[in-house]
């Protein structure tokens, strides 16, 4: 097991950045574990949310940003709702995810790819075009669509359209993404 | 020694011995940092505070006056803070007439246990006074007129 030198490995910039972007005070966490206790995704996590809080508190940047957990959090707010110290844990997870993205940690690739596909669908159509989203996702992950079985179930119900719904404002929406890209490029 | 020029303004505090004075002690024991402008005068009860003390303080060069007593219904002498409040309210309304911004005076409640609250009160009131800057000085005959006016009013 890795031995961590507490003072040398403490990344204070990281801690400050998380606190600023989340508006939360990390020292308010006393590690009671109630967030982990209530998190429906703990079973999927490689690092439990309370340990993510602890590692962040301790400024262990790499270990935190590498965590798959960041990509498996569904922002269900159980942690935030029940924290005895009123810390918005879900928001901290969000912020960590943003950082991971910027620093190029992909974590659980599939989830990120799905989210990207979702957003590109929004970018192209102004709204989510479910079939388009799926096609895009499958082509990016290159994996056989495990939901193929749903086809016969859903198709006849007229729930799935093969053309996106039209909207005029879709250029506006596309521009939002463009500007965001430029912004974050700076 | 005059107030550290530029750094401090003159702020006088009248504090009830039973609650707020203790609150200020509690803040000290807790090492809750505060601005240094305030000078505290201890009184046995906020009910002991004659509104003229406040007026005279301002006229003699105070830039702000802070009065702090016990929470309503928590007076060591049963009803002192109630009398204080009534009198000081009247005085407060008169301040503009004699040329002082009403914001130069504040009446608040702090109990002996509320060190942190005291820190907040002092800090925000000091900021408030620094925003206003030094108070206008009333000198000479004008001063005594003003005073007698207030005496009559209160």
């Amino acid at each position: 097991m890795k031995v961590i030198n507490i003072n040398l490995s403490y990344n204070s910039d990281f801690v400050t950045q998380v606190e600023e972007e989340s508006g939360q005070k990390l020292n308010n966490c006393y590690q009671c574990g109630k967030c982990t206790a209530g998190c429906p995704y703990t079973e999927e996590y490689d690092i439990s949310v309370s340990q993510i809080m602890r590692l962040t508190q301790a400024g262990q940047k790499e270990q935190v940003l590498q965590a798959n957990s960041l990509w498996l959090c569904a922002t269900c707010e159980s942690c935030t709702a029940r924290c005895p110290n009123q810390i918005d844990v879900a928001r901290i997870m969000d912020v960590l995810r943003h950082m991971a993205r910027k620093e190029g940690y992909v974590g659980t690739g599939r989830v990120k790819t799905f989210w990207d596909s979702f957003l590109s669908s929004v970018k192209n159509n102004g709204r989510v075009f479910e079939v388009g989203l799926l096609v895009n996702y499958i082509s990016h992950t290159g994996r056989f669509w495990t939901d193929i079985g749903l086809g016969p179930k859903v198709l006849p119900k007229g729930k799935i359209h093969f053309k996106p719904t039209e909207m005029q404002g879709k250029k506006e929406v596309a521009k939002i993404f463009m500007r965001f890209k430029e912004e974050s490029a700076r | 020694m005059p107030v550290l020029t530029g750094k401090e303004l003159r702020i006088v505090g009248f504090l009830c011995n039973w609650c707020s004075y203790g609150g200020a002690d509690t803040a000290g024991i807790g090492r809750f940092n505060q601005p240094t402008d305030l000078r505290i005068i201890k009184v046995p009860c906020s009910g002991r505070i004659d509104p003229l003390f406040v007026v005279k303080a301002l006229m003699n060069g105070a830039d702000g006056v802070l009065v702090s007593g016990c929470h309503p219904r928590d007076c060591h002498y049963a009803e002192g803070n109630f009398y204080a409040r009534r009198r000081l309210e009247i005085m407060h309304n008169f301040l503009p007439i004699i040329g002082y911004e009403p914001e130069r005076f504040e009446y608040t409640w702090v109990s002996a246990s509320e060190g942190q609250r005291w820190q907040q009160v002092v800090t925000s009131f000091t900021e408030q006074i620094h925003k206003l800057g030094p108070a206008p000085k009333i000198l000479g005959p004008e001063a005594s007129d003003t005073l007698s006016l207030m005496q009559a009013a209160l």
Partner: protein
């Protein structure tokens, strides 16, 4: 007046951020000051001697000490100047520690501020006059409010010390929370076995008058002479003749009354004696459930009562008691845990509080000492204890640690194994607070000998799963989420100030903190005193406490009262108002405003004048700021003295 000034370093407490030598130097320039110096520890013996010598050497008429808050050492230094032959009111203090050196690090500003404070003190001192106390008689009876273990201890110690004691208890029996406990930690000895005899002593002690089912209506007066109005709530039973035979209870047809003593586990009868060992063992009727009182029908108890003491017409009654001191021992209440939706907020019958569990464990309890699930009466196998429910939790406004839950949970886990050898107990905890003689050893026993499974983490959710309750928590040491299938969940619910604590404090004129717990005189040196002379604290009303500490405080409070009463007369505080006859126009405004009725009219050469009754005046000075003539002045806080302080500060 020749004034001497002493500026204290207080070690480095002041010196670190205040240039005390410079302050002393500046003081030497003040009018009246003939001697000024800085000293290491002014309150120490050498420090005090320095003052005494200076007074003699420079024949000083008054002393200013710039050091800590007067709440700390004003008395000390007043005694010092007295030793040197000065009147003790020819002394002033400047608080340059709590109000200066401890609240900022700017040495220049602090030094400058200290100089100002010393100037203020000096200017006031120059206007001080010698004051002399009057002696007044005291009433050597003591009122104890609350009949829990702390109150009982205080009452018995006072009574054994020869004092007359009046005890007022809100409920219909004394014993408090301790009477509800089955066993006590860390000795696991039977609670009622140790408390029971003490309760009986209270009942039988010739010096103790007990008002049970009574409350404090009004408190007037001051140390040595309080006047208490006690409200005896209507019991609908004549207690003088009630023998506590309990026949009324057997026969009462309305059996759905809330059983407060048993914490709502089970029900009781509308007319009831809370428990067999109750003191006094008298019946009372719960008017909300008695059909005679609600619907005018029934009257069974009146028929069966052998001593005919049922009185449906009974009204609340008021009695007045005169005492010289008051011990407040009003204890605590349990936090209302229903705010925890994730724990079911009371929707699940098999999630109960620790105190309810105690009643279940108790042989005299509603289940006869058998542990049963409230839902189906079955014996539980897996029992989960959850700690810190309403403790150390900002989100419910209870950030403080209750302090005794860790211990009673360990005790309950041990007792559970004794009652149900096949059972398994689990304890969800954050930290184990076991600071006390044999406490940690006790919690270790719960784990080592009784195989209680301690799990380090909070619980996030409890929900029913078939017949069981699924408890989902975390084990932060394993770093994982854990689940327990529980048959019964016991919440270690924290303590909060007892209901009505703040209202009582206002009657007593003592202060309380933001949670409603009473403020002691000094956190270290006056743990059972309050800032109101003659009013003392015992037990959990000052903050959550376990039994040993409550008992210790009960005795401590009693010792304080006995000390106070060791003299036949008390010295009045001479800081009282006096009237300048020449100036007084007899308008009577002061008489109207005085909260204590300490001012009366008197006749002086055919004119009406105000006159202060010195032993009644409490020195608030409301009269002084009311008087249009400035004729009535509160000594030691006169207009001149206060204005001199103002002028010392504000001079352009």
């Amino acid at each position: 007046m020749k004034v001497g000034v002493f500026v204290c370093h207080c070690g480095s407490n002041i010196e670190a951020t205040v240039d005390t030598a410079a302050v002393a130097a500046a003081a030497r320039e003040f009018p009246g000051v003939v001697f000024a110096t800085d000293t290491m520890y002014t309150c120490s013996e050498p420090g005090q001697d320095e003052i005494v010598n200076a007074i003699k050497e420079h024949n000083l008429g008054g002393i200013v000490v710039a050091s800590c808050t007067p709440r700390m050492h004003e008395q000390t230094f007043r005694r010092t100047v007295e030793r040197a032959g000065l009147n003790k009111y020819l002394f002033e203090m400047a608080n340059i520690r709590e109000h200066v050196s401890w609240i900022g690090k700017d040495r220049e500003a602090n030094t400058n501020k200290s100089v100002d404070l010393v100037r203020m003190a000096t200017e006031k001192l120059l206007r001080n006059r010698p004051l002399y106390s009057k002696k007044f008689d005291i009433n050597k009876r003591v009122l104890v409010i609350g009949g829990g273990v702390a109150g009982i201890q205080a009452a018995l110690d006072c009574a054994d010390g020869g004092l007359e004691v009046v005890m007022v208890e809100k409920t219909s029996t004394i014993g408090g929370k301790m009477a509800k406990l089955d066993k006590t930690f860390p000795t696991v000895d039977c609670s009622s076995c140790i408390l029971g005899p003490r309760m009986v002593d209270v009942a039988q002690h010739p010096n103790i008058t007990l008002y049970a089912y009574s409350e404090i209506e009004e408190i007037n007066g001051y140390v040595g002479n309080f006047e208490i109005k006690v409200k005896k709530k209507a019991t609908y039973v004549n207690w003088d003749s009630c023998t506590g035979c309990g026949i009324c209870m057997e026969k009462c047809p309305s059996k759905k009354a809330t059983d407060y003593f048993n914490e709502g586990i089970g029900k009781t009868t509308a007319i009831n004696i809370p428990f067999p060992q109750a003191i006094p063992k008298k019946a009372k009727i719960d008017p909300d459930f008695c059909t005679k009182l609600t619907k005018g029908k029934c009257g069974v108890c009146a028929k069966v009562c052998p001593s005919g003491c049922i009185d449906y017409e009974m009204q609340d009654e008021f009695v007045t008691e005169k005492v010289g001191a008051i011990v407040t021992a009003t204890g605590y209440d349990l936090f209302d845990w229903s705010v925890y939706g994730e724990y079911g907020a009371g929707r699940y019958p098999d999630v109960i509080t620790g105190l309810q569990y105690e009643r279940m464990l108790s042989a005299s309890g509603p289940t006869g000492g058998h542990i049963k699930r409230p839902s189906d009466g079955k014996e539980p196998k897996n029992i989960v204890f959850i700690q810190c429910v309403g403790s150390r939790d900002k989100s419910v406004g209870r950030p403080y640690c209750t302090g005794f839950c860790c211990m009673y949970t360990a005790k309950q886990a041990i007792l559970t194994k004794d009652h149900l050898p096949d059972s398994q107990s689990y304890v969800f905890y954050m930290d184990i607070r076991a600071v006390g003689k044999l406490y940690d050893e006790f919690t270790r026993r719960a784990m080592e000998e009784y195989d209680t499974k301690y799990i380090r983490g909070r619980v996030s959710m409890i929900y029913p799963k078939g017949e069981k309750l699924l408890v989902r928590g975390a084990d932060t040491l394993m770093g994982s989420q854990v689940e327990v299938d529980a048959d019964l969940v016991v919440l270690a619910v924290g303590a909060e100030a007892s209901a009505g604590a703040s209202e009582l404090a206002e009657k007593l004129r003592i202060s309380y903190d933001s949670y409603g717990f009473y403020m002691e005189g000094h956190p270290k040196l006056k743990p059972v005193e309050t800032n109101t002379a003659g009013v003392y604290l015992a037990g959990a009303c000052q903050g959550p406490k376990d039994i040993p500490s409550s008992v210790a405080q009960g005795s401590a409070a009693a010792a304080k009262v006995l000390g106070l009463f060791s003299k036949d007369q008390l010295e009045s505080d001479p800081q009282v108002s006096i009237v300048d006859i020449k100036r007084c126009i007899g308008c009577g405004k002061c008489i109207q405003t005085c909260p204590f009725g300490a001012i009366k009219e008197m006749e002086f050469r055919g004119m009406v004048k105000a006159d202060v009754i010195e032993t009644i005046c409490q020195g608030c000075g409301i009269c002084t700021s009311t008087c249009p003539q400035g004729a009535i002045q509160l000594q030691h806080s006169t207009d001149n003295q206060i204005l001199s302080e103002v002028n010392a500060l504000c001079q352009f």
